[in-house]
Structures are given as structure tokens and as C-alpha cells.
Symmetry: C2
Subunit: 232 residues, 2 copies
């Protein structure tokens, strides 16, 4: 499966674009209303409406460019990599590791995955960024864990879990969809990129919100040597 050093292009998967439409409707809607007002306003009042329209258009441009980034084909160069080594490296170097909440790792050996290390580091970093933001917001987590394992289906699993933080389904309903965010100053693209990257590797991402609180992001990836061992 892995042809070393050869970049491949992965088309955009099916995504839920409703949050993108929602954002763009807001931005373009504000621009439209402001322009209507500007056209009707006295010359002295036009400036204010123009400034509003200008800001709204700038927002629309930014969202459109983010949409283009995440929807266009993704170039990746997969090589055989040790998933646990990559996970350790990213987790230990991330700001969340030096925060007030303890971070533990539970890493399995021999998980060789055909992956683009640069992209997969981005995917994991985005998840850890979300942990950091969740901590900054609620600060109630008791522990963060980064773990790798081999699942019964013979796939490599990389998971990040946070305990001690309650989460409602509503709050996490759109997680992973591009432009879904509950934070006013965020575009909601971090976990969408995680999805995009993991899917490009033939993997899946699952967001779990256990009843006892906390949340987990579970990424499953095909093992490079799974076929040789008789897995499907």
C-alpha cells in the first residue's frame, strides 16, 4: 500500500457543510443588509454601513479560503512510521503536557502505520489543542491520556481522552464537522482537519462523550502489516 516518497492526492470526503453555510449566510447577509442601508443612507451615514459591510465581506473571504483549504484534494506522502513514537513525540512536546493537569501515555509497541508524519502530527496536535481549550474554559479535568493500541479488527488505534469534565450531547453534536465551534473566536476547523487527515489515511475518527463526563477522540488507522497477518 505504501509507496515511499511518492506524494498522493486524496479528494475531499463527504462532509457536513451546514456550519459553513450558516457562517457564510451570516457574513454575506450582514454585507448585503449593510450595503442596502449604505445605498439608502445619507452620504454622512454611509461610511458606517460601508465599514460594517467591509468587515462582513472580510469574514466571508476568510471562511471561503478555509473552506477551500479543507475541501481541496490533500497531498500526502505516506511512509512506514511507528505510530506510538509519533504520538509520544507530539504529546510530550505539546503545551498541554506542561499544564496543571497530568497527562499520561499508554503506548503499544510495533504499530507500524503507512502515514504522512507531518499531517498526522497536525491531526494529533489539533486534538490536544482542543484539550487545552477545554481546560482553559472549564478547568475541571482530572487527567488527560494519550494511548495507542491494536484493536480486535487489527487496526492501530490512537486515542486522546480527558476525564472529569461533563459534556452534553448537544455540546458535542457537531464535533469534527468543518466550521462547528462553540467558541466565538474560533473557526472550528481543528477537529475537521483531524477528520480530513485520518480519513485520507484510510482511517476513522470517533468522538466519545461518556455519561460519566469527559470526552475521547479515537482515531483508527490501517496497520501497514495487517494484510500479512490475515486481517481483513
Amino acid at each position: 500500500m505504501v509507496d515511499e516518497n511518492k506524494p498522493i492526492m486524496i479528494p475531499c470526503p463527504a462532509f457536513d457543510w451546514s456550519f459553513f453555510v450558516h457562517n457564510m449566510r451570516n457574513s454575506i447577509g450582514v454585507a448585503s443588509v449593510s450595503l442596502d442601508s449604505a445605498l439608502k443612507a445619507t452620504p454622512e451615514l454611509r461610511e458606517k454601513h460601508l465599514q460594517l459591510a467591509h468587515a462582513a465581506v472580510k469574514n466571508a473571504v476568510a471562511d471561503l479560503e478555509s473552506f477551500n483549504e479543507i475541501s481541496r484534494p490533500l497531498e500526502m506522502t505516506p511512509r512506514k512510521e511507528d505510530l506510538s513514537a509519533l504520538a509520544r513525540d507530539v504529546a510530550c512536546g505539546h503545551p498541554v503536557a506542561s499544564g496543571s493537569v497530568p497527562m499520561g501515555t499508554d503506548l503499544a509497541g510495533g504499530l507500524v502505520v503507512g502515514l504522512d508524519a507531518k499531517l498526522m502530527r497536525q491531526a494529533l496536535t489539533a486534538v490536544l489543542d482542543n484539550c487545552l481549550e477545554a481546560l482553559a474554559e472549564a478547568g475541571a479535568s482530572s487527567a488527560i491520556s494519550v494511548a495507542t493500541s491494536r484493536d480486535p479488527a487489527g487496526r492501530a488505534v490512537l486515542s486522546v481522552s480527558m476525564t472529569g469534565r461533563s459534556a452534553s450531547d448537544d455540546r458535542f453534536g457537531g464535533l469534527g464537522a468543518p466550521f462547528f465551534t462553540r467558541k466565538a473566536n474560533k473557526r472550528g476547523l481543528g477537529l475537521a482537519w483531524t477528520q480530513r487527515i485520518v480519513q485520507a489515511h484510510g482511517g476513522t475518527v470517533e468522538f466519545r462523550t461518556p455519561a460519566e463526563g469527559g470526552f475521547a477522540v479515537v482515531m483508527s488507522l490501517p496497520l501497514e502489516n495487517a494484510g500479512k497477518q490475515g486481517a481483513a
Copy 2:
């Protein structure tokens, strides 16, 4: 597979969104530049720039709403239908049937497909609309054919072919991608809807541009009774 009368929701498939981005960049770009100009212009000249920005924003809104239409989950109510009867009905009722170019039909019997007739009529109508537009543009076709058959893989095939019209690969490169069009006054959504609808039915659409000229749109759909006959 088919539960009569029960609507099902089909999420948006993976699409090439690059033509959408291209359109939106144009519209929002014009709006942005016009607004910049308006802000810098003398009060007397502002009106002109505002009108330009207004038209551009209107365009962006229209494209965004089209994007929302085509990207959101599709509701369909599949029932057992005779594909050939539907094809005959749509083809004979379409303006292209009463045009100057002869239209022939070659319809197989016994092709029972689980489909939403309203949607499938739209899918076929969009293809025939394209034939009509191609004729209006070039007028060089010698014949149009609407055919149904059962392919070797045990799927129902519905195809529309036009002969006698030369076509370059470049011209048809983006066919079926939303917002791809060569016509200034079109949004490029007809064949994208055909794709969306056929894919929602578990089918595929292929655009063929034979070397000898002309083009064909070939839709393959799973047969309702294929499983019982041992097909995959």
C-alpha cells in the same frame, strides 16, 4: 432494500468543490474591491462602487444558496419503479423530443429499480436539458438516443447519447461537478444534481466523450431484484 413510502435522508457525497470556490472568490472578491473603492471614493462616486458591490454580494448569496441546496442531506422516498417506463415518459415529454433532431429510445423490459420517481425524473430531465443546450449552441447533432438495459454486473443502465457533435476533453473535464459550466448565464448545477440523485440511489454516473464526437451520460442503478438473482 426498499421500504415503501418511508422517506430516507442521504448525506452529501464527496464532490469537487473547486468550481464553487472559484465562483465565490470572484463574487466576494468583486464585492471586496468595490467596497474598498467605495470607502476611498468621493461621496459622489460612491454610489457606483456600492452598486457593483451590491450585485456581487447578490451573486454570492445565490451561489451559497445553491451550494446549500446541493450539499445538504437529500430526502428521498424510494419505491419499486419500472425504469424504462419512467425514461420513456420523461424523454417523450421533454422539449428535446419535439426538436429538429430525431430522438430514439431503446428500452429494455423488466428493469425494476427502487427509486424516488420525482428525483429520478429530475436527474434525467437535467441530462436532456443539457442536450437541448448543446443543440442550441452547436446544432450539429445527428441523433439523440435514450436507452435502458441490464449490464453484465446485473445493474440497470439508463443512458442518454448524442452523436455527431465533437467534444474535447477540456470542454467536458468538469462535467457533473457542482458549479462547472461553460455557459455564462448558467450556474452549472444540472448535471451535478444528476450525480447527487443517482449517487443517492446507490448508483453511478459516467460522462463519455467518444473520439468520434458526441457525448453520452451513463447512469447505473442497482436493480431491485438483483440480489435474488445472485448478483453482487
